[in-house]
Amino acid sequence: MAGIKIAGVSKVYAGGVKAVNSVSIDIADGEFIVLVGPSGCGKSTLLRMVAGLEAISDGEVSIGGRVVNRMEPAERDIAMVFQNYALYPHMTVYQNLAYGLKNRGTPKAEIDARVAEAARMLEITQYLERKPRALSGGQRQRVAMGRAIVRKPAAFLFDEPLSNLDAKLRVSMRGEIKRLQRRLGTTSIYVTHDQLEAMTLADRLVVLNGGRIEQIGSPLEVYHAPASTFVASFIGSPAMNLVSGELHGNRLAIGPAVIELGAEAPASGPVTVGIRAEDLHPAREGEAVLPFAVDYVEELGAQRLVHGQVGDQMLTVALSPEIAIGEQLSLAIDPARLHFFAVDGGKRIGKGSVPAGVAAPVVQPV
């Protein structure tokens, strides 16, 4: 058990390409950190630097208080789950699980006990004598997890472990990973490009873009108070609407519509306005109205996504299926739920907060 400290870590490849740019993250013991970002954002490189598979160009990584920059992967006391599972194809499941322990000279009796325990935990006991090729994708995934947990490492590193599974299996494995991590209480770093996976798994999210950290925070903080337009458009589905508007005194103009903010605006002049699709609702009596021209509707069952325009700007609205939709809609929004970003740079203006009524999830110890 150990925390991980990543301090000012950079990765510069030959030719001067900076894949990771001075990233610092403090990970508490037992915390589940998810690195999320689009492909090429440096999240995997960062993980591989923690693992020791990639040299650290600058900065320092310490695991459990030990600086590990110059240590071999084996000495770092970590275990990694790979995207393609990386199971040894010529070994049985048992041998796959035992390989790491054997290399460390663990006594045979203890290897047996630990493998048996991990296999029981992951429900792969009946497959121990099989070769990986005789297993399904989900079972291979479990074996890969088993190989990580038998070692009882200080930290788990996950490199997009679920992206080779089909959608249904991904959801159930996601739950299992979360449950297992809670139960073992092992510090974990998890890399994914899937924002939903990131939201559901993370204690804290690290959103990366172009090798830099855009935001670190709990999933709800990141969702409700994105630090930049990048985070706003990346986290959440459908993506947050970003429209250009203009602030003046306590009023906001979006195209033809003017919204009374009820309080002094945090800035003045042109801004990018962020609006979550579910924060818009049909205008009631006396509310400021956004005239909305409907283009097309996506039915999702529990809700419908209505795409259309306010003025000449595209907007997506999530509405309950009970609401009748014509060619034109009058929409309104609680001004407290508006997000403002600087036009250049896209940084957030004004502090955001998790709105009242959204409670932090209560996690029962397993």
């Binding site: 598979l53 992967p73 084996a74 040894y88």
Partner: protein, 294 residues
């Protein structure tokens, strides 16, 4: 492994496409082989005017002939030595080149060159290097207190053709082993590194087992190579001597048939050689391949 099934519109087309290959196989392999089988049961008079059917006489005589038994043992020693030497060296070079990132291509090119050298040239090359009067190697060996003369010493002659034959085959084995090593997924090596396995241990516990299909394939190819294709090397280097010390089965076929004009016995020998290779290949495919399938 899934194979793609091709459907032809015409029933004739597939046969037409196969015809050139079948024709070549028929004319250059099946027909001569059938001729060899036929003449192994016959005795021909010195002028080629009449042939008599003699049944298994040639075969019976071969197994009573100590020269033939010696050649058989010699060939086994030769085949095992060449295969082992060229495969171990090929694997060692492949493992070394696999670790290189930038210069790998240069070394690959250089290491493949011997394969492009004609066997006779390779034989002559080693003959020169080891020539007892003018060669470089005997000169160096002399300093180490070894007197080298493969024209007189049968063991040294055997060592010489083993080196020459293996040298040519190292390139081939190297290429296949390198391709095999490079197709071992990088993430497996990384997983093993995290699992606490050093480079040497990774090689022996991960790479080598995963290479076993390649190793198996090369084993068959190499044995067949030493059985059949080493004739030019023997002929150019030692001419089967001294005192038959390097007369392998394939060389004996040539000596008895082409030089000695004992066509019946020579045919019987080539049929036996063919059967040995067929049996070896069959045994290997039947029993070894099962263990190397992933």
């Amino acid at each position: 492994m899934d194979t793609k099934k091709t459907t032809f519109d015409s029933r004739l087309l597939p046969y037409l496409l196969l015809a050139p290959q079948l024709f070549i196989t028929l004319v250059f392999f099946i027909w001569p082989a059938a001729q060899a089988v036929k003449s192994s049961f016959e005795r021909e008079d010195p002028f080629g005017l009449s042939t008599t059917f003699v049944g298994l006489l040639h075969y019976q005589r071969l197994f009573e002939d100590p020269n033939y038994i010696d050649a058989l043992i010699r060939t086994a020693v030769f085949a095992v030595s060449v295969t082992a030497l060229s495969m171990v060296l090929g694997l060692a070079f492949a493992a070394a080149v696999d670790r290189l990132t930038r210069t790998g291509r240069v070394y690959t090119t250089l290491l493949v060159w011997p394969y492009a050298v004609a066997p006779v040239v390779a034989g002559v090359l080693w003959w020169f290097l080891f020539n007892s009067t003018t060669g470089l190697m005997p000169f160096l060996l002399q300093k180490a207190g070894i007197r080298w003369d493969h024209d007189l010493n049968g063991t040294q002659a055997m060592i010489l053709i083993i080196i020459a034959a293996a040298w040519k085959q190292v390139s081939y084995n190297f290429l296949f082993f390198l391709a095999g090593l490079q197709s071992v997924p990088q993430s497996l090596m990384e997983a093993a590194a995290i699992d606490g396995s050093g480079p040497v241990k990774r090689f022996f516990t991960i790479s080598l087992p995963l290479l076993s299909p390649t190793t198996f394939f090369l084993f068959i190819i190499n044995v067949n190579y030493t059985m059949f294709d080493t004739f030019p090397i023997v002929d150019a280097t030692t001419v089967g001597g001294p005192a038959q010390a390097t007369t392998t089965l394939v060389y004996k076929v040539y000596q008895d048939g082409y030089l000695g004009l004992n066509l019946g016995s020579s045919s019987a020998q080539s049929v036996l050689l063919m059967m040995i290779v067929m049996v070896l290949t069959f045994v290997q495919f039947r029993y070894v391949e099962r263990r190397v399938q992933y």
